[in-house]
């Protein structure tokens, strides 16, 4: 079992003890964004260790996906800074921050539906494939070698989720669970330093979710990267996350280990309490 003690880093942030002496992979300082009059996220601070599995939770509409969109430059923040592996992402596009080391999946699946499973992963490998533009136009100049290497790498990644035999299927024709897994594979293909997962277990049954939990741990261990995940399934979050951050109405209301979060009265009131109410109604 991973070491779940969180230690202060650098000052008012916490990361797992094993990551304490390394530069954090992601830091957000006083992040905020307004949509017209609506402040969706305000004063969001987060630090994630290099090999941490972290959770971002909160009730519907709390601003979790918006945080992901800020971290991946889909939106530019109105206030605050984001440091990715120490570098400011201000003014960078989505594709640039991906190159800097952040990859994600989407709450509402965004696959390249009419392209094959293999090609979806190969798009993920795009910046790792060393084919020049003239080589693409002529299929000479090392095209075949680069393409074969890409095929091999893509199949290797698909094999991680035992999906290699689906390589030629159109991504849109996959069952729902496989679509979610393919999104993770595609994101991993970009060789990120941190992987953001937006509700990876949504629509999965308990046994699928259990396997997913195992796989998220394997991803962290084998690829040696950090994972930040949004999830409503509390078993999953409490089961694999080392640190958890709770959002409500765009603001962080609690941070800590699963045990600390479970017993935090603010969280119970805002999140778990609400859920109990919903169940009664």
């Amino acid at each position: 079992m991973a070491d779940r003690t969180m230690v202060p880093f650098p000052s008012n942030a916490i990361v797992p003890r094993k990551d304490a002496d390394k530069r954090p992979v992601l830091e957000a300082h006083h992040l905020g964004i307004d949509f017209g009059g609506l402040t969706a996220v305000e004063d969001f601070n987060l630090t994630i260790g290099r090999s941490e599995i972290a959770g971002l939770i909160g009730p519907n509409g709390a601003g979790k996906t918006t945080v992901f969109n800020l971290l991946t430059s889909v939106y530019q923040p109105t206030r605050g800074t984001i440091l990715l592996d120490g570098y400011d992402t201000k003014g960078k596009n989505s594709f640039q921050v991906n190159k800097m080391g952040i990859a994600r999946t989407f709450q509402n699946i965004r696959l390249f539906a009419n392209m094959s499973v293999l090609d979806n992963v190969k798009v993920g490998l795009h910046n790792k494939i060393k084919t020049s533009f003239p080589a693409s136009l002529t299929h000479f100049f090392g095209y075949s070698q680069a393409e074969k290497a890409a095929d091999r790498k893509a199949l290797e990644l698909l094999d991680f989720f035992s999906m290699a035999d689906m390589r030629d299927m159109p991504a849109g024709a996959l069952p729902y669970g496989d679509q979610r897994r393919l999104e993770i594979v595609r994101a991993l293909a970009t060789q990120p330093k941190i992987l953001l997962l937006d509700e990876p277990a949504a629509g999965m049954n308990p046994s699928e979710t259990a396997r997913l939990m195992e796989n998220i741990r394997r991803i962290r261990d084998e690829f040696d990267i950090a994972v930040l995940l949004i999830e409503h399934d509390m078993n999953l979050v409490m089961g694999i996350c080392e640190g958890i951050c709770v959002l409500n109405y765009g603001r962080v209301i609690a941070k800590g280990t699963p045990r600390q979060i479970k017993s935090n009265p603010k969280v119970i009131e805002a999140y778990l309490g609400k859920k109990a109410e919903g169940k009664n109604a």
């Binding site: 991946t72 889909v74 596009n93 989505s94 594709f95 991906n98 190159k99 990859a103 994600r104 989407f106 965004r110 696959l111 390249f112 539906a113 009419n114 392209m115 090609d119 190969k122 798009v123 993920g124 490998l125 795009h126 910046n127 494939i129 084919t131 533009f133 080589a135 693409s136 136009l137 002529t138 299929h139 095209y143 680069a146 393409e147 890409a150 030629d168 595609r186 994101a187 293909a189 970009t190």
Partner: protein, 339 residues
Amino acid sequence: MKKNLFQNMKKTSRKNLVTYLICFSFFAAVRIMGATDNLTRHFSSLLVPICINVILAVSLNLVIGFLGELSLGHAGFMSVGAYAGCLFAIKFKEILPAAVRLPLAMLVGGMVAALFGLLVGIPVLRLKGDYLAIVTLAFGEILRSVIINLNFTGGASGLKGTPQDATFTAGFAAVILTLFVILNLADSKHGRAIMSLRENAIAASSVGINANGYKLMVFSLSAFFAGIAGVLYGSSVSILSASTFDYNKSIEILVMVVLGGMGSIRGSVIAAALITILPESMRALADYRMLIYALALIVMMILGTSEKFMLLRHALSPRRLLSKAVKHFRYKKEGQNNG
């Protein structure tokens, strides 16, 4: 079962090979008919236009079918290329032999058109769908009026004196070059990036695809080939007149792409050839050409969104029918052997 070389090939390479075979068979057929004096005057006058339209349709398909953006300014790129290439050819009329002059003129026309593609591509970065269609349409119209009012383009009376270098062989070579480049591109990392933008731009950006860069690349590459087609056209008419390149021409190219199937290069080739041959062969229909195009577009739009039609089309695709026939035949044979 032992597989032959053809079956061992990658699916895309197999598809491409069939496309090339169709083109070369057509070329060979025309050559044989020519050698045996079976080629009518009328049909031989259509050979270069077929090549021109195939290049136009295939290159527009790159924008519409692969990138998923609607451009209505293809005739505009064609015209820039035509004028640039023809002015070049006129200048070097005495100095260069035709075999060198035409390829160089095509290169010049293509490059100038590509430059314009880049210029028009810049607003594309901000616009989508209908808005992009309107901007590209306007671009084509503006370009036409500018050309008519310039002196060195021959103005409203047209550009005269371009050497008539366009032959069927030259046109065919240009078609093969276009197919070679675009089919190769489609099956490469750059091609996948373009298609991923069509499928889902946000997801593509999230995996490191530079959306703006690729859109510009597609626009200028597509314009490059439109420019080549323009030079071919300019080298096959005695007077190059700007009024040829109006929006009707752009719509005609669009119809070829839509009828051939968006994203299907082979479809574009066949549709372009047919649309060049048919109206000319049926003179009576020529007056109603634009009306027929409009109807064809509307019907395709309606059918394109109908699931039942898609299923029908899939069931009736030549490949499926062929494999069904083969299976049927095999089954019969096996039945005979057993019985």
